[in-house]
Amino acid sequence: MKRISPADHLLLHALADQELDAAAALPLEARIETDPALADEYARIVALKDRLKGLPKQEVSQDFAARITAIAGGKSSSGRARILSLDHVDWRALAACLVLTALLASAGTYLVTAPRSDAAIEDEIANDHHRSLLASSQTDVLSSERHTVKPWFDRKLGLSPPTIDLAGEGFPLVGGRVAVVAGNAVPALVYRRRQHLITLVAMPQSAGQDQVETPHAMVVDGYNTVHWAAGGFKYWAISDLDADELESFVTALGAR
C-alpha cells in the first residue's frame, strides 16, 4: 500500500475533526476521492472517532450536582429556605463564619496563584525519591540497557532524556520511572552505587528555553542533591550517597 506522508496524516485527522478551513479542506477532499489509500485512512479515522463517540456519557449524580451548587452559597431548594430565614441566625456566629470564609478564600487564592519556586520542586523531588525507596520496586521499567529505557520513556511520556549508562564509572543504570513534579509527569532515571540508589530527575525546559546552569549542591530533606540545567533539560540528582560521591556521579554524567 502506498505510504501516506506524515503531513497528510495530520491533515486527514484535521479534516475529520472539522478543523480545516475550506481552502485546505476542498483540495484534500478532492485527493481523497481519487486516492484509495487516503480514502481508507480517512474512513478508519472517522470509524475510530465514531467508536469513541459511542462511549457512554458521563453521569452526574443529583447528590454531586447539589454539592457543587452549594459551593456558590447553597441556592438549592433546601438552601433557599435557610438563607431566607436569616432572622433566626446568631449574628455573632455568622460574623465569625464570614471571617473564616474570607481567610479560607484568600488562602485558596494564594495556593492557586502562588508561583512555584524551585524550592517547592526540590521538596517534591525529595519526596518522590523517598517514596521510591519505600516502594517494593523503585523503577517502572527495570533495565540496565539504555536502549530499553529510552524508548520506554518515549512511549510513556512522548519524550526522553539522554540516557547514559555509567556502569564503567561505577554507577550502573537500574531503570526508569515517571515522577510527577510541579504538575508534570517527568522522566526519572535510577542509578545505583553499591547499595545506594540515585534518582536523576530530568525535567524538560519549556519550549524556546535552553538555560544552562552549572551544578550546585544542596541538601533537601536530608538527601544530598545536585541541580543543574543543560541541553534543554533541568536535572536534579538526589541520593543518600555522600556529597563527594554524588558529585563524582554528576561529573561522570558530564554535566556542564
Binding site: 500500500m1 505510504r3 501516506i4 496524516h9 495530520l10 485527522h13 484535521a14 475533526d17 478543523e19 485512512e41 478508519r44 479515522i45 470509524a47 475510530l48 472517532k49 467508536r51 469513541l52 463517540k53 459511542g54 462511549l55 457512554p56 456519557k57 458521563q58 453521569e59 452526574v60 454531586f64 450536582a65 454539592r67 457543587i68 451548587t69 459551593i71 456558590a72 452559597g73 441556592k75 438563607i83 478564600a105 485558596g108 487564592t109 492557586v112 517534591e124 518522590d128 517514596r131 521510591s132 516502594a135 517502572d140 512511549r155 510513556k156 511520556l157 512522548g158 520511572r177 515517571v178 515522577a179 510527577v180 513534579v181 510541579a182 504538575g183 508534570n184 509527569a185 519549556s206 519550549a207
Partner: protein, 180 residues
C-alpha cells in the same frame, strides 16, 4: 448578602454547573477512577468559584476544564504520583480483552457486547502515554477544539495535532483496526 456575591453565585450556576459531566469525565481520565474524580472536581469548582469574578466569560467549558486539569495534577502529585502511569498496563489491557471474549461466550446479548466494547476502549485509552491520552480525551471525549487544547496546555497547535494523530494511531492499533 452583598450584590456582588449573589452575582458571583449566579455566574457560577450558569458557567460551571452545566459542564459538570465534562469536568467529571476529564478528571476520571486523568486520575484513573470515579471517586477521586468527584473529589478533584469539587476542589476545582471551589477554585473556579473563587476566580469567577475575574474570568472574562470566553470559552467557559475550556476555562473550567483547564482548572480541573490543574487541580488533577496537584492532586496526583500529592496523592499517588507513582500510580499515574501504572494504570492501563499491558496486563490490564489483556485482562479486558479476556473479559470481552468471556462475555461473548456467555451471553451474546447486544448490550453485553457493547459493555465489553466499552471496557476494551477504555482500557486502550488508559494505556496511552499520558500526554497523548490527555489530548485525545480533551478532543474526542470533551469535544474541545485544537485551539482550546493548545491554549490550555501551552503547546503549539501543531503539537496538539501530532499528539492527537499519534494517540489515535496507537488506539486503533490496540483495538485491532490498525491505521496503516
Amino acid at each position: 448578602m452583598a450584590h456582588s456575591d449573589e452575582a458571583a453565585a449566579e455566574r457560577f450556576r450558569h458557567i460551571v454547573v452545566p459542564h459538570l459531566a465534562d469536568a467529571l469525565s476529564l478528571a476520571r481520565w486523568l486520575t484513573g477512577n470515579g471517586f477521586d474524580a468527584e473529589d478533584v472536581v469539587q476542589e476545582a469548582c471551589v477554585r473556579a468559584f473563587s476566580a469567577i469574578q475575574s474570568y472574562d466569560g470566553r470559552g467557559e467549558r475550556a476555562w473550567l476544564l483547564s482548572i480541573v486539569r490543574n487541580t488533577c495534577f496537584t492532586w496526583l502529585a500529592k496523592n499517588r504520583s507513582r500510580n499515574l502511569v501504572l494504570m492501563g498496563t499491558p496486563a490490564e489491557l489483556s485482562e479486558a480483552q479476556g473479559a470481552i471474549h468471556e462475555d461473548l461466550a456467555l451471553d451474546p446479548e447486544a448490550d453485553l457486547i457493547r459493555k465489553a466494547d466499552v471496557t476494551l476502549i477504555e482500557a486502550a485509552i488508559s494505556s496511552l502515554p499520558q500526554p497523548y491520552r490527555e489530548v485525545l480525551v480533551l478532543h474526542d471525549i470533551n469535544d474541545l477544539s485544537y485551539k482550546e487544547i493548545a491554549a490550555m496546555m501551552s503547546i503549539p497547535i501543531g503539537t496538539v495535532m501530532s499528539r492527537l494523530s499519534r494517540a489515535r494511531k496507537q488506539l486503533a492499533a490496540q483495538l485491532g483496526q490498525a491505521t496503516q
